[in-house]
Subunit: 281 residues, 2 copies
C-alpha cells in the first residue's frame, strides 16, 4: 500500500497524479492545492483521492512530490524535510535545480530528497491542463543524485519508469546550463515573437488569417504562465543572460545579412541552422 | 477536359498536383521540374501524369501554376505570359507578392495572371514533402485581384475551393507587410534559435535529451530551405527589417528585465505575450 502526496495539482502534478494512480504505482493519491478554485477543479476532475492540508500530506504520504513554481518550492522543501519520517521520500519537479539543491544541501534529511526534472509539458497550466500520457517517452533529469540515498533514488527511478520516462543524470549546475540553452531560450523567443506580432499587427483578424501552421508552432510557448516562468528566469539568471546574448548576436547577424542583401551570408546562416535536422525530428 | 500544368513539383506544387487531380479539378496534370533527381522522384511518386518541358506545359495546359522560389518566378512569369493563348490562366503561389506583381504590371496579358499565396506548408521541401490535404482549412491570399480578369479570378477561386482554402483579398504591398509580421519573422526567429543552440551546446546528445516538445516546435521552421527563403527575405527586405528591429527591441527589453531581476517588468512582458492566446489556438 503506497500513498503518493502531490503538492500542486497543476499541469505537471496533475498529470503525474493521473498516471501514477492509473498505472498502479500509487494506491492512493493525496492532493494539496493552495488555490481554492484549482482545488475544487482537481477534485471534480478526479486528480486526487483526497484533498488534504500540506501537513497531512507530508504525514500520510510515502512519497511527496513538490510540483509548485520553483520560487515557492525553494521555501517549501526545507520545511517539508523538517517534518518527514525516516522512510519517506520527497522529490521536486522544478525547471531549475541549483537553487533547489543549495536550499537543502546541509539539511539532515537531504538523503531523502531526490531532485528531478521531468522534461515534459505543454503551454497550458492548472488542473485543467493535466492529461494522461504527458511524460511518455520523454527524458527525466536526476540532478545531484549522489546526494540522495541509493534506496530513495531507486524508488524514484521506478516512479519515472512507471511514467515511461528515461532517466538522465547530471549535476544541478549542468542542468541549469543545458536547460537555459535548450528550453528556457525557446520560451523567451516565443514571448518576444508574440510581443512583436501583437505590436506590429494591430489587426487581430490579420494575425488569425495569416497564421499558418509555422507561426502557430513557433509562438505556441508564448502562452506559458508568468507565475511559473518569472522564478525560472530569475533563478537561472546567469545562464539565461548568456544564452540571450548569443541569441541577440545571431539575430543581429541575420539582420545585417538582410540589410545588405548579402545572399551568401544568408545562405551560410540558414544552412548552418538547418543542421538542427540532424538532432531534432 | 481541363489540364493543369505545374511548374515546380516541390512541397507546394506537388501537394497541389495530388489534390487537384484526386478531387477532380484537373483531368490531367502536366509537371515541369528542372532538377533531374526531383523530376524522377515526382514521376515515381506519381505527382504528375506526364513530365514535360516548360514550353510544352504552357502550350498544353489550361491553367499554369508557377510553384518555384520567388526569385525564379519573377523572371519566369513575363516569359510565360508572352506565349500563352487567350483563354489560359497563369497563377503563382509565392510568399512575396510586390516584386511579382511589379514584374508583370504592364504586360499585355496581365489580366490572365492571378497572383495567389496559399498559406500552408511544412518545414520540408521537394517532391518527397508533397502530401494530400496540405491546404485544407487554411487561408489563400489573392493579391491585387482587381488587375486580373474576373473570369480568371473566378476559375482560380474554384481551384482553391477544391483545395478547401478560404480566400482573402488584399493588395500585394499589404500582403508583404502582413506576411513579414506573421510568417517571415517566425522563420527568422527559428533560424536564430537553431544557430544559438548549436553554438552554445556543442554536445548534440544533450540537445537531443533535453529537447522537450517545446523546443522542437519552436525550432521546427529552422529546417526550412535556403533556396526558398533567401529570395523571400531579400525581396521583402524593408518589411522584414522593420519587424526584425521590433523583435530585437522586445528581446532586449526581456534581457534587461532578466538582468535586473525586475519581476514586475517580466510579468508585464509575459502577460502581454500571453494575449496571443486570444488569437491563436
Amino acid at each position: 500500500m503506497r500513498t503518493v502526496g502531490i503538492i500542486g495539482l497543476g499541469l505537471i502534478g496533475g498529470s503525474m497524479a493521473i498516471d501514477l494512480k492509473k498505472r498502479g504505482f500509487a494506491d492512493k493519491v493525496l492532493g494539496v492545492e493552495a488555490d481554492k478554485v484549482a482545488a475544487q477543479a482537481a477534485m471534480t476532475i478526479g486528480l486526487a483521492d483526497e484533498m488534504v492540508s500540506l501537513e497531512d500530506c507530508v504525514d500520510r504520504s510515502d512519497i511527496i512530490v513538490v510540483a509548485v513554481p520553483v520560487g515557492a518550492a525553494v521555501k517549501m522543501l526545507p520545511e517539508i524535510l523538517d517534518r518527514i519520517g525516516e522512510k519517506k521520500i520527497v522529490i521536486d519537479v522544478c525547471s531549475t535545480k541549483e537553487h533547489i539543491c543549495a536550499a537543502v544541501k546541509y539539511h539532515p534529511a537531504r538523503k531523502q530528497f531526490v531532485c528531478t526534472h521531468p522534461m515534459a509539458g505543454t503551454e497550458y497550466s492548472g488542473p485543467w491542463a493535466a492529461q494522461p500520457g504527458l511524460f511518455d517517452g520523454r527524458a527525466c533529469i536526476f540532478a545531484d543524485q549522489e546526494e540522495s540515498a541509493p534506496w530513495a533514488v531507486q524508488t524514484i527511478l521506478e516512479l519515472y519508469a512507471c511514467l515511461n520516462m528515461r532517466p538522465i543524470f547530471m549535476s544541478s549546475s549542468s542542468h541549469d546550463i543545458h536547460t537555459a540553452y535548450v528550453s528556457h531560450i525557446s520560451h523567451i523567443t516565443s514571448f518576444a515573437l508574440a510581443l512583436t506580432v501583437l505590436d506590429k499587427e494591430k489587426d487581430e483578424k490579420h494575425i488569425f488569417d495569416l497564421a499558418s501552421g509555422g507561426f502557430s508552432s513557433t509562438v505556441r510557448l508564448a502562452k506559458s504562465n508568468a507565475d511559473m516562468w518569472i522564478p525560472i528566469l530569475t533563478q537561472n539568471h546567469n545562464n539565461v543572460l548568456q544564452v540571450m546574448d548569443t541569441y541577440i548576436e545571431k539575430m543581429q547577424q541575420f539582420r545585417d545579412a538582410v540589410a545588405s542583401y548579402d545572399e551568401e551570408a544568408l545562405r551560410k546562416l540558414i544552412e548552418d541552422a538547418n543542421k538542427i535536422k540532424r538532432i531534432i525530428r
